[in-house]
Symmetry: C2
Subunit: 536 residues, 2 copies
């Protein structure tokens, strides 16, 4: 009976030595504990994904090739299938190799190189144009890599060439609903070609991306007969009768809101630890955004690793301080209170002369936000803790945030979470345990940078703003199309003009977890200087 | 006699309407004033280059197509050759069209799509695979676009197909020495194929890029017989006897240092105005970096549009203040002095309790830099002036800069200028008129954030650091290779480890002008979370 181990493990981009050690240990365990014949690792397992411009470094490419040879020499008695960047003359390929008893048995070069969204594979790689089959226990197994099987034809081509079974190595990043899209497309192809398929995905956070795992096996009817956990490492063995996979116990499938929450938690955890921070800190305002980020941080890193700072000003309402303290206490974290008034006064005085005769405007609001930024960065610098920013996607879209103020920090957990989803995630988190006071969820959102200020003074209601932003930012819809979808032109034009004009802020924002089909960052590349006006 | 106008004009990315108007006016002038038969505009003239993800917007693509039709209908009596993104079914092409008397006469689709360095063309476009010839006054003219003619073969292929002359539309960005590289490669191909060539380049700054113009005409021997100005708009007509271009007066060719200076000036000017700022301001420390940036800003925007702020602390030496004032006076700009001590004291007091028992470290230095950031940003916000940062490439490389402190600002003119080149550019600028005091050039550089601090306390001498950085950052050399080039491993490892670990700072830095073969930003895409260690 053929046994294939799906090695859904968390690898470190650029960490070739660490990845090599982890791959060897996983392969040995798969052989000795799980008695697997073949162990399959994710796409570019040696380098982690995406290695980006490290791929342009000859020393890096050499180290990766050496690591493959070292693994081959270290582990015998099991076929190891892994991914690495393969140099051939001047060309680089995104390749998979089969290592058997000290040698490279065969190798496959990825045919379809994605160069859209967050992907830049044509920057680095040449396309392969061959298929690759190898035989284990009489079964002819075909290798494919990620995008290959999203294209029509390659699975069928392998079947026609005599493949009994498809292996596919992946680094497929999460966004909401992706798991269903992925299984639908891949299983449909398995079904059409009438061939079983083993899909191994990466897991872990890498800068803006979270790889969600959920590796799976589909049978020749296109039915998923096993699925590994989402958002966790898992090495699972699936048995085959001939080339027919035997059903085994799948991990439970999360619903959309819980998968989004888990993606955020994993993204924060991996960014923090992969960058060598011991913990995280954040400014806690009593508003819903920082409340959610705090809950995510504690779930990601543990109570002892997270600190919060309350930084009231004269515009901070008492209920904000009260609620912030309630949140900190509900989670059991350490918190500090540092009023910003002394610094704000100092700047006001320092600028009195140059501002003589001018009117108050957002400048004075920004000074408050930036004083908070200085306090938080000082604590981050002193303690070596990662500063988390608390801005959401709606704010990032329209620039309702202060550069170097509340945007100051190393990681922005909810920068791809629209405000309405912030509410939903907060409600969801409270179903696990009550950590966000109800009043924080129900009161109208405010930046508290001016007397009695609320967000809706400057912006359309989020119930209007968020759908407009999704259509404009994520779906490339025009103002006219959004209008046709039932929104007011005034709201549309305000939202769009703010999005257009705030690219400069987003360009200086810290990275955060992508959870929508299009996040800001590598996923959406807009010019700053631009004459484009999306307004109608 | 055939007359071709090279329309080297400054276009606005995304500004389809503005570009359309400018193209029409230029074409009419070329026809009526210069009596040209053909006017050739740069690559993607309708949209500006690079339009980035605007190309994913259906409304944008439609507007571009409409603009082409509008231009065709508006101008008769001259062949207009321009570039635009051409949609065909689901595919988009980087195309050139010939407009003649109200119609699209023919169109060409770029064959070679660059997807390296700052270029992402395979993200948007499909490759064309045809050549395109059209006839004017009996001459068969072939169209090509930019990267096409950097590849072997296409010019020769056009010649074989009967072309008498090659037109090429370009958006070729500047870096030091690029003009020679460009002419050498292109002229060599013209020479080999024995065909004359008209090269029209874009001009102007766009975010990180400066297009340097220097459009030229080469004859069939590969000799440049005309060259337009560098870094300036110019519409020039070249006459042809048959297909043989007649020599005409070229603009003078700048040497490397002056072309770098001109690129910086143009980059600052266009970033400022294309983003709608009225002027710029910066912090003037008395050090060489801010002195150079001030000179560039004044040369870019004029004396009346630039303000400087001196922000001394207790660590600021008298000579720094004196020299800063000398610089401001030499240039005749308005300046202010705002001591940062009150704000620094306020923060020190606010943080006293949480910092109890800790030692002074870079945290306290960062607070000073960040107080300056707040002052400058407040002035920028209040006046609508663009804040320029003053950090150089050596500092950006090793992270010798404070995030939200001296890194705060909208544009970073010298972020791609290594420190040694900062000195050379300052000396060069002083040859035009003495604006930087000699003492600023000769004294040892210091951040003045601690008593008697100089850069070389923390970093290798710039004469050692800069070549190491160039090899590591721009040439992808390994520590071993740099060592073999004659540098000490201690210096190499310090420099490299600092580069590796400061990607997070660079990711939040403002854009600046690319002048080296590899700048930070779109040109060098590194992961932040990374296990790669370049040290030996």
């Amino acid at each position: 009976m053929l046994k294939i181990a799906l090695a859904q493990i968390n690898l470190l981009v650029g960490g070739i030595k660490a990845n090599q050690i982890k791959i060897i240990q996983t392969a040995i365990d798969a052989r000795d504990q799980q008695h697997a014949d073949v162990v399959v690792f994710p796409e570019l397992s040696i380098t982690g994904y995406p290695p980006e411009d490290l791929l342009l470094r000859p020393d890096f490419i050499k180290q990766a090739a050496q690591a493959v040879l070292d693994i081959a020499k270290t582990v015998s008695g099991i076929d190891i299938v892994l991914g690495y960047p393969e140099k051939d003359g001047d060309d680089l390929y995104n390749s998979a190799v089969v290592l058997r008893d000290g040698n490279i048995l065969t190798h496959y070069r990825k045919n379809a190189l994605p160069n859209f969204g967050v992907f830049d594979e044509q920057r680095y790689f040449k396309s392969g144009n061959q298929i690759c089959l190898f035989t284990v226990k009489g079964q002819s197994i075909a290798l494919t890599i990620c995008e290959d099987i999203w294209q029509q034809g390659l699975i069928a081509k392998n079947k026609q060439a005599g493949a009994d079974l498809i292996l596919t190595l992946n680094a497929s990043p999460f966004h909401a609903g992706k798991i269903h899209q992925r299984e639908e497309i891949v299983c449909q192809q398995a079904k059409e070609a009438q061939i079983a398929l083993v899909y191994v995905n990466s897991i872990g956070g890498q800068d803006e991306l979270v790889f969600d795992g959920a590796s799976f096996v589909a049978d020749a009817k296109g039915d998923v007969i096993f699925r590994a956990e989402e958002f966790a490492e898992q090495v699972s063995v699936v048995e085959f009768k001939g080339n027919n996979p035997i059903k085994s116990t799948s991990a439970p499938l999360y619903n959309e809101i819980s998968s989004e929450y888990k993606a955020l938690v994993l993204g924060v955890r991996d960014y923090t630890y992969k960058n060598g921070f011991k913990g995280a800190l954040l400014g806690l305002s009593g508003g819903i955004d920082s409340a959610l980020v705090l809950a995510i941080a504690v779930d990601a890193l543990g109570v002892d690793q997270v600190e919060a700072v309350l930084m009231p000003s004269k515009y901070t309402q008492d209920m904000s301080n009260e609620d912030a303290i309630l949140e900190a206490k509900a989670l059991g974290i350490k918190y500090h209170t540092i009023a910003i008034e002394p610094a704000v006064s100092a700047f006001t005085e320092m600028l009195r002369e140059v501002f003589e005769g001018t009117k108050k405007d957002s400048t004075e609001e920004n000074i408050q936000a930036r004083c908070r930024g200085i306090v938080l960065m000082a604590m981050s610098n002193k303690q070596g803790k990662l500063l988390l920013t608390t801005g959401n996607k709606s704010e990032m879209s329209v620039g309702y945030a202060t550069l170097y103020g509340d945007m100051a920090g190393g990681f922005a957990p909810i920068k791809d979470v629209p405000k309405l989803l912030v509410y939903q995630l907060s409600e969801y988190r409270n179903t696990l345990s009550q950590v966000i006071p109800q009043r924080v969820i129900t009161r109208p959102p405010s930046a508290e940078l001016a007397p009695d200020q609320i967000d809706e003074d400057s912006l359309p209601a989020y119930s209007v703003l968020d759908p407009i932003l999704a259509m404009y930012v994520e779906q490339d819809k025009s103002a006219k199309e959004i209008h046709a979808a039932g929104y007011q032109l005034d709201d549309i034009n305000l939202a769009i003009s703010l999005v257009d004009r705030n690219e400069y802020k987003r360009r200086q924002a810290p990275p955060g977890v992508k959870i929508t089909p299009r996040a800001f960052g590598r996923d959406r590349r807009y010019p700053i200087a631009s004459g484009y006006k999306g307004v109608s």
